[in-house]
């Protein structure tokens, strides 16, 4: 303690603890450690991905008390009193969230490296807006880059996970034109 001022932490590694997916995780790290680094390098929570490390891709998205944040842009120390949920906390292979099931069903991933961030951002949307329309989904995911190009399938997965019809795709129109394909 120094007088009545704030507690000084650092510059040396300091004890930190985070509430991640309902568990308390304790570790020792420099105060400059970002939340993303803390999760991946200290807590062995590797669902959130380091892609750009500067809030440009959404690959590291986690929920802070149900709000999405780019965990690469925030210090772990600033998240100590928050409830952190990563993609692993949304559901697991054995007990997946309906959103995760819809992602798999609609093939809303190829390499899957963007997928944890997409799932987390989409989950945040569904918490705030249980029946988003297509434009709302596009907007909510506009910070999540997918290089493989899976956006249309992601849209469908989010629509179906929120109890809606997937985007109406054509069509049988082409079928008659190509004899062999009937």
């Amino acid at each position: 303690m120094n007088g009545g001022g704030p507690t000084i932490i650092g510059p040396l590694p300091a004890k930190t603890s985070l509430q991640v997916n309902g568990r308390q995780l304790d570790f020792v790290a420099e105060p400059a450690t970002t939340l993303l680094e803390a999760l991946r390098e200290q807590c062995d929570v590797t669902g959130p991905k380091e892609v750009c490390d500067r809030a440009a891709c959404g690959g590291c998205t986690v929920l802070l008390d149900e709000r999405p944040v780019a965990s690469c842009m925030m210090l772990a120390l600033d998240a100590t009193d928050r409830k952190i949920t990563t993609v692993e906390g949304i559901g697991s292979v054995d007990a997946p969230d309906p959103l995760q099931m819809a992602m798999a069903e609609f093939d809303a991933m190829q390499c899957g490296f963007c997928t944890p961030g997409v799932v987390t951002a989409a989950k945040a949307l569904l918490i705030q807006n249980p029946r988003p329309n297509l434009d709302e989904i596009r907007a909510a995911l506009s910070g999540n880059l997918c290089r493989c190009g899976t956006y249309p399938n992601i849209f469908n997965a989010v629509l179906v996970a929120s109890g809606q019809e997937p985007v109406e795709e054509p069509t049988d129109r082409g079928r008659s034109a190509s004899g062999e394909r009937a």
Partner: protein, 712 residues
């Protein structure tokens, strides 16, 4: 999902081996359980980062190696050069106990450089700036004999692969062995390359790449980051983590090279092209090769063609690597826009002209469907629209050869009826593991749920790298052979026990039948095995019965809207028709097509590496300034799997990326009446084009030669 969702794309129903199968690792990926190379993080591993040149060309003045070594946590500083030939060129590397120590070590190095003159693009080279060379006498005559001559210059930018998982590897010692977790498109390529740096024989190296975060052609080599990682692991004997950060990824892991293309041709009033000369210049950065473009592609009739005139132009930037259909999207952009320009000059519908110039019978039928699905009948004449928002329609095409490579697939039948498919080849997101499982399940006649796949490990049977779109076409025949062996083995046992003729037994949805009679369930038949049975199917890389008919062809149609006040282009719809022989898994096949279209749209509208002409520094080596297509820019895409009567499994990864930018450029031309001949189709370029006069029409005027005759 208990209730299967409504089939969205009825158009593709029944076209694939597995219409409803979902990606085997879908849930792993959607829950964060899938572990990539970059996720192989250990508390006590060493971190490696390269020391890189900050300018286009520079010499190193000073560097404080001792200060870096004195930084707590830094364990090694290796300096092996004193000059850089491009931004991101490396002169050594630093090894440290954690990433903070690594960053402090690099800072303590305090490298100072003297900037030197550099070249930053194709046009820095005199050869590229020079007027077009003369065609051969024969081509010159063909061009002169035509009614009209046409000349134009086209260009495309440097595009970076931008895989979301950066290049690199994590190496951990495991007794005598080293396990290498790599982000790679070639399990066995890494196995062959890393040993030299690790100082270990191939037999002591295990590559693991169970999940790979994207690979679009740049991950066929371990790169400098991999080499440094290997050396650091050898020196230290410890676990080592060496991955590029995002900036390094843009600077030094390859790219699609830029292209400058000059064309001169002669055409008649009906659009027939009598002769043409193409001059291409590929921007290869510091590499000597790799800038080739496929133009013309061979899909269209150009009359008497001059022999190829290609030159690679070097300048001070990172070199190219293969990128999804190398040379093809840039070539297609030039060629297809050129055809639309000729069509416009002659007052023809560009689809009608394509039909005349394209002799592929399959694409002819695809044109019909593409036109139908995009609503071609709503297309206004090029340049006929006024007002702020103008709509355009455009077409692009592709074809792909029949590359193949040797492959082995092992199938293990377990006594509980479970089947394990084992292949060392990698699944970079194409759905390779799902395709193999679906094929084996269908070939044997058991549900997909019976199958698991072990993939992406050099201890598993060897398979091809994911390049040239050969992976699935080559592994499929091996998987079919393995499935046949496994099936025969089990059926022979049943036939013997039940005194039946094995040839009369069939397997339908996990039940072994004789005629219409149920004999025994697959599981129960397998229970008689005393131990797991392993069989291996092999494909020798040559054509065989399994290889089947057909090659990959495609037609895409785009509808765009152009805001003529801002120059912004909105790509609304893309119809993507693609043949790929026999599609294996509908959903992943559709995903491949959509992914190609999205990357092609991104290439058309946004992507461009920008070098500062003064310093040679890359100005946009990150995702804030190097824009790739996001959710709000994504068009509606209709992927159409075109089966015809094809039987062999064919290329699908690369061809769908080829036509998209071309189709979009043509749609923009249709909307605004002026061609934009440089990619990306930036708003400023659209506005500049709009300031030009409308594209010329020549057919209203009497043809030149006819004119001369009349006067004579």
């Amino acid at each position: 999902m208990s209730q299967p969702p409504r089939d969205l794309r009825a158009i593709n129903a029944g076209q694939s081996v597995a219409d409803h199968a979902t990606r085997l690792d879908g849930l792993e990926k959607a829950t964060g359980a899938a572990r990539y190379g970059r996720d192989q993080i250990k508390k006590d591993m060493l971190w490696v980062r390269l020391i890189r040149c900050p300018w286009g060309r520079a010499s190193l003045d000073s560097l404080d190696r001792d200060a870096a070594l004195a930084t707590p946590g830094v364990v090694e500083v290796v300096v092996s050069g004193d000059a850089g030939e491009y931004h991101g060129d490396s002169i050594g590397y630093v090894v440290a106990r954690n990433r903070r120590a690594l960053e402090r070590g690099l800072q303590a190095l305090d490298a100072t450089w003297t900037r030197l003159d550099c070249k930053t693009g194709i046009l820095d080279d005199e050869k590229a700036r020079a007027p077009m060379g003369d065609p051969s006498a024969e081509t010159a005559k063909a061009i002169d004999d035509a009614a009209f001559t046409f000349e134009a210059t086209y260009s495309t930018p440097v595009q970076t692969h931008s895989s979301l998982e950066t290049h690199g590897l994590m190496i951990e010692p495991d007794g005598e062995n080293s396990i290498v977790h790599a982000s790679t498109q070639g399990t066995f390529v890494v196995a062959d390359q890393i040993g030299r740096f690790l100082g270990k024989p191939r037999s002591k190296i295990i590559i693991d790449c169970e999940h790979v975060g994207g690979g679009f052609g740049s991950k066929f080599q371990i790169g400098k980051e991999g080499a440094a990682g290997g050396l650091a692991a050898k020196t230290s004997g410890e676990a080592v983590y060496s991955f590029c950060d995002r900036e390094e990824e843009h600077l030094d892991t390859g790219n699609r090279p830029s292209l400058l293309c000059k064309v001169r041709l002669g055409h008649d009033a009906d659009g027939t092209i009598r002769g043409a000369r193409f001059e291409t210049f590929g921007g290869t950065g510091v590499s000597r090769r790799g800038g080739g473009a496929r133009v013309p592609s061979g899909r269209f009739e150009f009359g008497t063609l001059d022999s190829p005139n290609h030159q690679d132009i070097q300048f001070n930037a990172g070199g190219p690597r293969a990128m999804r259909a190398p040379g093809c999207p840039q070539g297609a952009f030039v060629e297809e826009l050129l055809i639309d320009e000729i069509a416009h000059r002659c007052g023809l519908d560009p689809l009608a002209l394509r039909r005349r110039l394209d002799d592929s019978e399959r694409r002819q039928r695809m044109y019909d469907v593409a036109a139908d699905l995009i609503g071609w009948e709503n297309r206004a004449d090029t340049g006929s629209q006024t007002g702020t928002m103008r709509t355009g329609y455009g077409i692009g095409t592709c074809h792909w050869g029949k590359g193949r490579a040797p492959a082995k697939i092992e199938v293990v039948v377990h006594p509980d009826g479970h089947l394990e498919v084992r292949t060392g080849t990698q699944d970079i997101g194409t759905g390779q593991r799902t395709a193999m499982a679906a094929l084996v399940a269908a070939r044997i006649g058991v549900p997909l749920a019976n199958i698991s796949v072990a993939i992406g490990n050099s201890m598993l049977p060897a398979g091809p790298a994911s390049g040239g779109s050969v992976c699935t076409p080559s592994t499929a025949p091996a998987a079919m052979a393995a499935a046949d062996l496994a099936r025969e083995r089990i059926l022979a046992g049943v036939a013997e026990r039940e005194k039946l003729d094995a040839d009369r037994l069939t397997i339908d949805d996990g039940v072994i039948m004789e005629g219409g009679r149920k004999v025994i369930r697959w599981e129960d038949a397998c229970r008689r095995l005393s131990e797991p049975v392993s069989v291996t199917g092999e494909f020798d890389g040559q054509a065989s019965a399994h290889w089947g008919e057909g090659s990959s062809e495609g037609v895409q149609a785009a509808r765009v809207e152009v805001d003529c006040e801002t120059g912004q282009i909105f790509v609304r719809d893309v119809i993507a028709i693609q043949s790929c022989g026999l599609p294996l898994v509908r959903k992943t096949a559709e995903s491949q097509i959509m992914g190609g279209v999205i990357q092609g749209t991104s290439y058309a509208l946004f992507e461009e590496q920008v070098l500062d002409p003064g310093t040679g520094a890359v100005l946009n080596a990150n995702f804030e300034n190097y824009k790739i297509l996001g959710s709000e820019d994504c068009p509606r895409i209709v992927p159409v799997l075109w089966r015809d009567d094809q039987t062999g499994v064919r290329a699908l990864g690369e061809p769908p990326v080829v036509p998209t930018a071309a189709a979009i450029a043509n749609a923009v031309f249709n909307a605004i009446g002026r061609p934009v001949r440089d990619l990306p189709l930036r708003p400023d370029r659209v506005l500049a084009a709009l300031a030009e006069p409308m594209a010329e029409r020549v057919v209203a005027a009497a043809p030149r030669n006819a004119d001369l005759e009349n006067r004579a």
